[in-house]
């Protein structure tokens, strides 16, 4: 066989050929059978024998079936037919995140969230957090009643007390603060205005769990117009990102991933794609997808940005600014940017307004305002104001705040000075939280007026200036909660429901300002149906002259960090930690590190060697991390690509009061976040690490199901080679026979299959896939995939049907150890989604002794749970290692209490009723969402027509924000998937 050109490895242990790893990776399953009671001799087997006999005897003796009830609706709602899904458009709003969604409900309960294709703000995709939010609805941790000092009260009593307290504060001239994350719902703002009228000392303080205030402030300095602008990456041919993870966590990753992917779709008609330069410290999703990635320290960012400005200013003939560093890669990026003037974007994740002013200067030189950056479309869901928040913390400490209402936010946890807020709360006479579930803040206040979950609420939103959307309830409130805005209206003395209030508001504004519909109800119904509304406007994309003072900004950038620099990030899965109690998100491996269930300190390989830490298969050490006066005991993960002299730690963990799943997972990085000149800074210098020697295991999915010695695991090529030959990098295996080389399918042992009706197939465009992992959560929600917990992930028994393999690679030859070592410091990264390939002659099918896995006439590899006896031969024979074995009964099992969707009656409401919940001892794997295929076929048959292309879509394909996954019928010559395959041939 031809020698592969590149070396691929999944983890450092594989790269270094660690002997214990090599031994273990040969085995499909770990050799130890962790059954929990190895010490007690053969008791488990004996027990099983006894159990087997007695169960058989008992089941024969007790043939009486239990009486099952069938309970119809008392008064069936017109739009609900049991068994038929109903979809509602709505809006996901959580912390500083927004996504326009379509909610699938069955029998009146939401079971799946999908993207709304009509939205220009989220582009039809979702994120892992959006997908998982449906499980948060059914969290037992939610408040079931309003409470006063911890004991449940009625709403009437609560309102009476709160109103009297507010009135007494207000009449005494006291100050009231409503603390919230970005508020971008016009009707909510109107409700708060009414509140302000009644209680004149009221001020609204907004902050976001993750701040982008630096950008807003820089725009005020540069253009006299504060706000985070909306970017259009789809128009950008050259993109430079300084630590802005716009494909993973930065501001609006759903839309930005979609836009970015549009520049990466190659085909016979398009052989050009965008160039992405990334300068970052931690390895992020964006860095992993970058064409050129440079590892830099955060303290160097200023110099790099100034260097880039000067390089471009040189070309543009503009004045350069003092300072800055120049390097080959900066010049290359500058050249690329200059070539694509007006079609490029430079972004920075820094929250330092000075850095952002220079970034604005660069974009202005390149003429990007008005083309790829629209200043008039400010992103309202990241409009938090750090300075206001700082002032609030100071005011609270000074005792000048009489009453605080925490409106759906949790600053005691997610604001750096949370401790100060917690300890000074007693200085306010009224403290109230509208949080819908127990958290650090709602645990510290006197009154709790729990809000509905967003899936139970009416709401409207203006996520981006000029783009409106609606939220509607998809289920009536599960608990005795009340819409937060209704609480505010009630306290303001307005008795109307929030729905009426909102509708009246829309009547007065949007309905009155449009001409298309003459009846309010028709207009309202249409908007509610679409979920989004965009009034026709004639405003041009904002292009305002740059008026920032670059030299002042450059001078104000703090120069040079001292010691080790800590970079605080957030993960794709858990984000800022609002939904930390969601087990789907906790078990979702990070796209890059592939670790789950906690946060950890990422350090570079040379740094680890320096500290004497060797990491192998999650076995690592805990170290003491000291920043300022704070010391955290945290495990270390050795991360290829981590900039030298930096370490990384994620927010969102270390929750103290979030519930069964999230409490005590990882450490809380929020107190480490610095506040520089009134804005939060996520890069902190002067950190130090001391090795404790305490060994520890981090749960990785990284090296599970790994295979060394398999060439061409990933087939890839460079753009230049692709332009010359569309098949570049492709590997077409041939088999040598006596009669020369032959195609593998020419000498098959099997007869193959003929397909007459459908032949379902899936194509994944690996050039578009960013590895974000949204599809894995969509799959989990759709197919009732259980959560197994950290312990079982360590035992390599995670159950996800769809995983995303992350390979590091380098061009260095496998014998060039020095070269490989160097490459490990900043490797190339490739993502490869991996699920059952539904092989035509599947190896698993031939080895099953009971024919529990067979081939269908529509090309599916079928898995029948009720037939499976658990020999696991199939998994052993699967070349893709995508079969999952149910080692335990994961549902209704107190040992798997974190599996919230199956461990209690409330959580079970999220289960997809069309998919079996698997039991112990059976194998499972991707079915290509056969329930959706069957549903689509049935709908077509009922309407007496063939299935239309795009009608049957798997959960993963629907969720994908980059449209990398295409599913369809290969026999339908007009289907997108068959057209794509034709191109490839």
């Amino acid at each position: 066989m031809e020698k592969p050109k590149k070396q691929y490895w999944k983890g450092l242990e594989q790269l270094s050929n660690d002997p214990s790893f090599v031994e273990k990776e040969k085995n499909e399953f770990p050799e130890m059978l962790p059954t929990g009671n190895e010490d007690s001799g053969a008791s488990r087997r004996d027990f099983l024998k006894m159990m087997g006999f007695s169960v058989a005897a008992a089941s024969l003796a007790a043939c009486e079936a239990p009486i099952r009830k069938a309970i119809p609706y008392l008064n069936k709602p017109l739009e609900i037919d049991p068994g038929v899904p109903v979809y509602y458009a709505s809006s996901y709003m959580n912390g500083g995140d927004y996504c326009s969604v379509v909610v699938k409900t069955r029998e009146g309960r939401p079971i799946k969230i999908e993207g709304n294709d009509l939205s220009a703000v989220s582009g039809g995709g979702t994120t892992a957090q959006v997908e998982a939010s449906v499980l948060s609805l059914y969290d037992k941790q939610r408040f079931q009643n309003p409470t006063n000092g911890g004991s449940p009260v009625t709403w009437e009593d609560l309102d009476k007390e709160v109103i009297s307290q507010l009135e007494s504060i207000s009449s005494g001239g006291g100050q009231i603060r409503i603390v919230a994350n970005s508020i971008y719902s016009p009707s909510t703002l109107a409700a708060i205005e009414e509140f302000k009228v009644k209680y004149p000392g009221t001020e609204v303080v907004t902050y976001d769990s993750i701040s982008n205030y630096g950008i807003a402030k820089a725009n005020e300095l540069s253009f006299g117009q504060a706000g985070v602008p909306l970017y259009d990456f789809s128009q950008a041919k050259t993109i430079v990102s300084f630590d802005a993870d716009f494909l993973g966590t930065w501001i609006n990753p759903v839309l930005y991933s979609k836009q970015f992917s549009k520049t990466r779709k190659l085909g016979p008609n398009n052989k050009e794609m965008s160039r992405l330069y990334s300068f970052e410290s931690n390895m992020s999703v964006t860095g992993a997808n970058a064409d050129y990635r440079t590892a830099i320290k955060p303290s160097e960012q200023g110099a790099y940005v100034i260097g880039l400005y000067n390089a471009i200013a040189g070309k543009a003939g503009a004045e350069s600014i003092s300072g800055g560093s120049s390097s080959e890669i900066i010049n290359k990026a500058a050249e690329g940017l200059w070539r694509s003037q007006g079609a490029s974007i430079v972004v920075s994740g820094s929250n330092d307004p000075n850095v952002q002013v220079i970034i604005n200067g660069i974009n202005s030189l390149l003429g990007n305002y008005g083309t790829t950056i629209d200043l008039n479309k400010s992103v309202n869901f990241r409009s938090g104001n750090d300075e206001q928040m700082e002032k609030f913390v100071a005011d609270l400490g000074a005792g000048s705040v009489g009453g605080v209402i925490f409106y759906n936010c949790n600053p005691i946890y997610d604001y750096p000075k949370g401790d100060a807020i917690a300890s000074n709360l007693s200085k306010a006479s009224l403290t109230l939280s509208t949080s819908d579930r127990l958290d650090e803040t709602s645990g510290a206040v006197t009154y709790i007026a729990p809000d509905h979950h967003y899936l139970e609420s009416w709401n409207d939103a203006e996520p981006v200036a000029g783009h409106f959307s609606l939220s509607q309830p998809t289920i009536s409130n599960l608990f005795n909660t009340r819409q937060g805005q209704e609480s505010i209206l009630t306290w303001a003395g307005n008795e109307s429901s929030y729905y009426d209030f909102m509708k009246a508001n829309w009547e007065a504004t949007h309905f009155a300002n449009q001409l298309a519909e003459s009846e309010l109800q028709v207009f309202w119904d249409k908007t509610l149906h679409d979920g989004v509304y965009m009034p026709a406007t004639d405003t041009q994309a904002g292009a305002i002259a740059f008026a920032g003072d670059l030299n002042l900004a450059a001078a104000n950038i703090p120069s040079g960090g001292s010691g080790l620099e800590l970079v605080i990030t957030s993960t794709v899965a858990v984000g800022a930690g609002n939904q930390a109690n969601n087990p789907w998100l906790q078990e979702m491996p990070d796209p890059v590190t592939k670790a789950c269930w906690e946060n950890y300190l990422t350090i570079s390989q040379p740094h680890a060697a320096e500290l004497g830490i060797v990491m192998s298969e999650g076995n690592t050490q805990k170290v003491d991390l000291s920043v300022g006066g704070t010391t955290l005991n945290v495990p270390v993960v050795v991360q290829p690509g981590q900039a030298s002299g930096t370490i990384g730690l994620a927010l969102g963990y270390g929750r103290r009061n979030a519930g069964l799943v999230a409490d005590e997972l990882g450490v809380d990085a929020n107190p480490l976040v610095g506040i520089v000149n009134g804005t939060r800074s996520y890069a902190v210098s002067g950190a130090s690490i001391s090795v404790t020697g305490e060994s520890y295991q981090v749960a990785h999915t990284q090296t599970h199901q790994t295979h060394m010695d398999r060439h061409y695991v990933v087939q890839e090529s460079t753009l230049g080679e692709y332009q010359k030959d569309a098949a570049a990098g492709r590997h077409f295996p041939q088999i040598t026979t006596l009669k020369g080389k032959k195609q593998p399918y020419d000498i098959s042992l099997w007869k193959g299959h003929t397909y007459t009706n459908h032949h379902w197939g899936m194509v994944i465009d690996m050039n578009s896939c960013t590895g974000c992992g949204t599809c894995t959560i969509a799959c989990q929600a759709e197919n009732n995939v259980p959560v197994v917990g950290k312990e079982e992930v360590l035992n390599r028994r995670e159950m996800t049907w769809l995983r995303i393999d992350r390979y590091y690679s380098s061009d260095a030859d496998s014998s060039d150890l020095k070269g490989l070592e160097k490459a490990a410091e900043n490797p190339e990264v490739t993502f490869q989604p991996m699920m059952c390939q539904h092989c035509n002659n599947a190896p698993c099918e031939t080895v099953c002794p009971v024919a529990a896995t067979t081939h269908s006439t529509e090309g599916l590899n079928q898995m029948v749970y009720n037939r499976c006896i658990g020999t696991r031969y199939c998994a052993n024979n699967c070349p893709y290692k995508v079969r999952r074995f149910n080692w335990f009964k994961y549902h209704d099992n107190s040992q798997f209490s974190t599996n919230l969707s199956m461990s209690n009656d409330l959580g079970k409401m999220v289960l997809n009723p069309d998919v079996t919940v698997r039991s112990r001892g059976v194998m499972e794997k991707c079915t290509m969402c056969v329930q959706r295929i069957q549903y689509g076929k049935l709908e077509a048959k009922k309407e007496k027509r063939r299935v239309n292309d795009g009608e049957v879509v798997t959960a993963c394909a629907k969720a994908c924000p980059t449209d990398a996954i295409t599913f369809g019928d290969l026999l339908d010559s007009k289907s997108k998937v068959s057209k794509m395959l034709k191109i490839e041939k």
Binding site: L60, R68, A70, L74, T756, N757, L860, N866, Q934
Partner: protein, 412 residues
């Protein structure tokens, strides 16, 4: 039969001519309104709509909750009917004399139906076609059907007689053989025989030796084991099979009365059967469509009122329990497959208490999928499949031929 046909033909002809004349006389005045038709497709559509929506209150030939609809297209103007069916309440309040007369007579306002004009026209076409049939044909049809079924195959009574006859003949044979042996041995005893021969002749049937013989014991043991095994296996296969399960329901609802005597279409109450995987057990608001007026004082109906008043749903006992591991969709079978409800649910029209008719085992499902022809007629989904199938086989396409036996059709 011939007589009825020709009669109805003449009837049709007369009506048709009358219709043409009416058209001629009325001229363009009616042209904008809907027209009734004799198109079989439209009438079939009308029949489906009529049976699904109207039969709870109306019959063609009998007065039920509402008037008998025979010749209603003659009695009323088409425009009047269109408006009335869409919103009867509006017509009554607008002071329409006929509507008010009807209300006075029946003391109930008809439910309004959001049908399109075309749909109403198809229902009326169906009613007109039905009205054209003489009254007795409907009654005569089933008996003819019954006979034709009885003719095919040997009646059960004959089979029993043949079996009894066979057994009797065998018994007589045995007796005759025994007598022959007796006669022969008596004859041989009187002859001169040597010792060996005498021994054979005098040999007595030694039952004890026979019972103790290995061959007998072997046979006995084999039969015993076989019977025990067979019984045990049969027993195991009936585990969880609830054929004939007829639990007492919280309300003594009689399908015999509703579906049998009053011929209410299954669809009327089980609303999901054509569009959902579940057929649906009706919610009380469907019961109340009729029972507001029909027997409102019955103690059983009072239970429905109780449920509504106390906001506690009625907990019916589920009769058909498929295991969770198998997926079944009613609409696939009824709407697409065109299977009658009775095929699986049995003679519901005769059941006072509903019971499980089929055994609902996988073998039963599979068997039906092997034997049933795929209902491909008029369904564009199947066009290409039927074409491909006819190239390789002369047999009609069975469900099996379209992957109907595959695991993932029901298990996922």
């Amino acid at each position: 039969m011939h007589k009825t046909n020709s009669l109805s033909f003449i009837n049709h002809l007369v009506r048709f001519i009358a219709f043409i004349f009416t058209l001629l006389f009325i001229g363009t005045g009616l042209s904008q309104a809907q027209e009734l038709t004799e198109d079989a497709g439209v009438i079939a559509q009308g029949e489906e709509l009529f049976k699904g929506n109207c039969t709870a209150c109306h019959k063609i030939n009998e007065k039920l909750l509402g008037p008998a609809l025979r010749d209603v297209t003659e009695r009323r103007e088409l425009d009047w009917l269109l408006t009335y069916i869409k919103n009867p309440q509006k017509m009554i309040s607008s002071g329409d004399p006929i509507a008010n007369e009807l209300f006075d007579e029946y003391q109930i306002v008809m439910t309004s139906f959001p049908f399109s004009d075309d749909q109403i026209a198809s229902i009326l076409s169906y009613i007109r076609a039905e009205s054209a049939k003489p009254m007795e044909t409907a009654v005569a049809a089933p008996s003819a059907d019954g006979e034709s079924v009885a003719e095919s195959g040997i009646p059960e009574g004959y089979m029993n007689a043949i079996m009894i006859g066979l057994i009797a003949i065998l018994a007589i044979l045995l007796v005759v053989l025994f007598l022959i042996i007796n006669v022969l041995s008596r004859f041989l005893k009187e002859k001169d025989l040597d010792d060996n021969q005498r021994e054979v002749v005098n040999q007595r049937l030694d039952l004890r030796a026979l019972v103790k013989s290995n061959a007998f014991l072997g046979f006995a043991a084999f039969f015993f084991t076989a019977i025990v095994l067979k019984t045990a296996l049969d027993g195991v296969f009936t585990v969880g099979v609830q054929q004939g399960y007829a639990p007492t329901q919280p309300i003594a609802f009689s399908h015999k009365l509703h579906a049998g005597q009053y011929e209410i279409d299954c669809n009327y109450c089980h609303t999901g059967v054509r569009k959902s995987k579940n057929a649906n057990i009706p919610s009380p608001n469907i019961c109340m469509n009729c029972h507001l007026l029909v027997m409102p004082d019955s103690p059983e109906i009072a239970k429905i009122y109780d449920a509504i008043d106390n906001n506690t749903p009625i907990e019916w006992v589920r009769v058909h329990n498929l295991p969770d591991l198998s997926y079944f969709n009613h609409s696939q079978h009824v709407e697409v497959g065109g299977i009658e409800c009775e095929t699986c649910h049995g003679p519901v029209k005769e059941m006072e208490v509903i019971q499980q008719h089929a055994n609902l085992t996988m073998g039963w499902c599979i068997n039906c999928h092997r034997e049933t022809n795929l209902n491909t007629k008029g369904n564009a989904y199947y066009n290409k499949l039927v074409e491909l199938h006819s190239e390789v086989s002369k047999e009609p396409m069975k469900v099996e031929d379209n992957g109907g036996l595959e695991c993932s059709r029901c298990h996922y």
